[in-house]
């Protein structure tokens, strides 16, 4: 099909692959970071204010349901193309798993633990920081992990609106009918997703409190 082999191709394109992988990680990382900044507090907030729980969860759900391609398309008239709109869309995608897991993590704590805390004279803030967050942390981390992995995949589409990243290779490869190019985008993306999933899995384990691990 092609005159040179895939390995030679990789050698030739190596620096570019690294550059795009870096970009890819940056887009995903920034989006997830922002989603954590917003999602975790929001998730905590909705455990305390039951009235808005459904509103917020279903709103976040809507963004999750929209096809990513459509969402990228919708954002162009509003924010144009490039890095920022891509971050914004990915941020919206990352939001739901984080909010939802934070909410579930805190909600799944045995109510008697919270009651004991109140009865012993802990303030709401103390209950949150000393009990709820430490206990919910592994589940929250699980949400972050899901968001990140999904976003690594979705971020390839961000190349369509000029955000760069490994999607560049994939789309170029498709339009040029160049399989090497497609693979040069797809394989690093897959590897990135797998290794990030593995690393965040370790972090999740690390964050699980000692006393909870065995049970």
């Amino acid at each position: 099909m092609n005159k040179i082999g895939f390995l030679q191709f990789l050698e030739y394109r190596g620096p570019e692959i690294f550059k795009l992988t870096g970009e890819h990680m940056k887009i995903t990382g920034v989006a997830v970071f922002l989603a954590i900044l917003v999602g975790v507090p929001l998730g905590i907030y909705i455990t305390k204010n039951r009235k808005v729980t459904n509103v917020i969860l279903s709103t976040a759900n809507v963004f999750q349901t929209l096809p990513s391609l459509a969402l990228f398309g919708l954002i162009i008239p509003i924010m144009g193309i490039g890095f920022k709109p891509a971050i914004f869309v990915l941020f919206l995608y990352a939001l739901l798993p984080i909010i939802k897991n934070t909410y579930i993590g805190i909600n799944s704590i045995d109510p008697s633990i919270i009651e004991a805390g109140r009865g012993m004279g802990m303030t709401k803030t103390q209950i949150l920081t000393m009990v709820e967050i430490p206990l919910a942390l592994p589940i929250i981390m699980g949400g972050i992990r899901i968001s990140t992995v999904i976003n690594i995949g979705t971020a390839t589409i961000a190349a369509l609106i000029g955000a760069g990243g490994l999607g560049d290779f994939i789309f170029k490869g498709i339009s040029m009918g160049n399989n090497h190019l497609i693979l040069a985008g797809a394989i690093p993306t897959a590897l990135l997703a797998i290794s990030v999933d593995f690393i965040l899995g370790l972090v999740e384990k690390k964050l699980t409190p000692q006393g909870v691990k065995n049970s």
Partner: protein, 382 residues
């Protein structure tokens, strides 16, 4: 001292869970709130540390209205034990016990010393348990930690919400016994919620029977059994719980076969040792130690020993001795109670027709019989 004055609680503004309730718990008293589920007993208890705010009425602790007080400080100074224990699973046993001291910003050394002290008090090897996690403990051990945690800053008042009802019967009984001993030692003011009348009779100095958010009767266990205020109380505690026919009960039915005893020549130190081992304050003094046939000659209490802490004293010189409180095994319950009300110690020897010691009666054995006997009198009716 805790005082609830005309306290009313309603969650929805219409139905009153607690109605105009008055209750006065004296310092050092073990008060049990008992009633069917949904009667408002737990809500009543939770209003004392303002986990529930009274809709109307006032609550005083040592004469001070709780309303004006710093809520967190108030709760930190009242021990709180709940049915599901609620230990923090991500913290070690040590950290759990040290929680309130941590909130009160004690130093590390103070906290650890106190936690060790409490673990010892709860009969759990501190060196081992301090570093373990709640999930590694049995239900009974967890609740012991729950109690230790409530005692951490040595509060005057402890609130307990059905602390033993989730435990298996054997563990429950054990913890109840421990609670009795603990209370004898510490003399806290305790408000204890339960729906288990056996538990109430076993633990309480006074019982408040609650129905539909009102106190129907507030009295000593004996008085409640003897003179129930109305049909509900009578029904609740089991109709005819033997009190109607106490003549039928004989000393030999009531007595315990295992109890603390010591020979007339025993030393005070040895008596104290036996008391510790038996977890009692009263021993029966017998003529010969270590033999099967023994005759009781007197009774000795911890106080008597303390008063006569002379060096070479023997039980013979310390004990109280009288024919009056050595009871024949066929004496009926009414007489036993009469004799017990006249003496000021808590264990009396029971003898057979040959004047040989066969058992002892203590307040606990009396309460035990109350709970055991009722079905057999009325053909199982409860």
């Amino acid at each position: 001292m805790i005082e609830l004055k005309n306290v009313t609680k309603s969650f929805d503004g219409k139905n009153k869970v607690v109605k105009n309730l008055n209750l006065r718990v004296e310092k050092g008293e073990f008060v049990v709130l008992i009633g069917e589920s949904g009667c408002g007993k737990t809500t009543t208890m939770k209003m004392i540390n303002l986990l529930e705010k009274p809709t109307k009425g006032e609550i005083f602790i040592d004469g001070e209205n709780v309303k004006g007080q710093d809520l967190m400080e108030l709760r930190r100074n009242i021990g709180y034990v709940i049915q599901k224990v609620g230990l923090f699973p991500h913290m070690t046993i040590g950290e759990n016990i040290e929680l309130v001291p941590t909130l009160k910003k004690w130093s590390k050394e103070e906290k650890k010393a106190r936690a060790f002290e409490l673990l010892e008090l709860m009969d759990l090897p501190a060196e081992d348990f301090y570093y373990r996690y709640p999930s590694e403990l049995s239900g009974g051990q967890q609740q012991r930690i729950g109690i230790a945690r409530a005692l951490a800053v040595n509060p005057e008042i402890i609130l307990m919400d059905e602390p033993f009802s989730a435990l298996d019967p054997i563990t429950r009984e054990k913890l109840q016994d421990e609670m009795t001993n603990l209370q004898e030692e510490l003399g806290k003011t305790i408000v204890f919620v339960t729906h288990d009348m056996d538990e109430a009779l076993k633990l309480a100095d006074k019982i408040a029977v609650i129905k539909d958010g009102e106190v129907i009767q507030f009295d000593t266990p004996e008085e409640i059994l003897k003179n129930p205020a109305n049909d509900f109380v009578e029904y609740f505690f089991g109709k005819d719980r033997m009190w109607k026919t106490p003549e039928m009960l004989l000393a030999k039915d009531i007595m315990k076969k295992k109890f603390g005893k010591i020979g007339v020549n025993g030393s005070p130190a040895r008596a104290i040792e036996i008391m510790k081992e038996r977890e009692t304050n009263t021993l029966i003094v017998v003529d010969r130690e270590g033999e099967k046939k023994q005759k009781p000659v007197g009774v000795v209490t911890r106080n008597m020993i303390m008063r006569n802490s002379g060096h070479s004293m023997k039980m013979r010189e310390i004990m109280a001795s009288s024919e009056d409180f050595i009871i024949d095994e066929n004496t009926n319950m009414v007489e036993v109670l009469n004799i017990m009300s006249k003496i000021n110690f808590r264990s009396i020897p029971i003898v057979n027709k040959d004047k040989l010691l066969v058992g002892a009666i203590t307040p606990i054995s009396l309460l035990n019989i109350i709970t055991e006997i009722s079905p057999s009198i009325e053909g199982g009716e409860l």
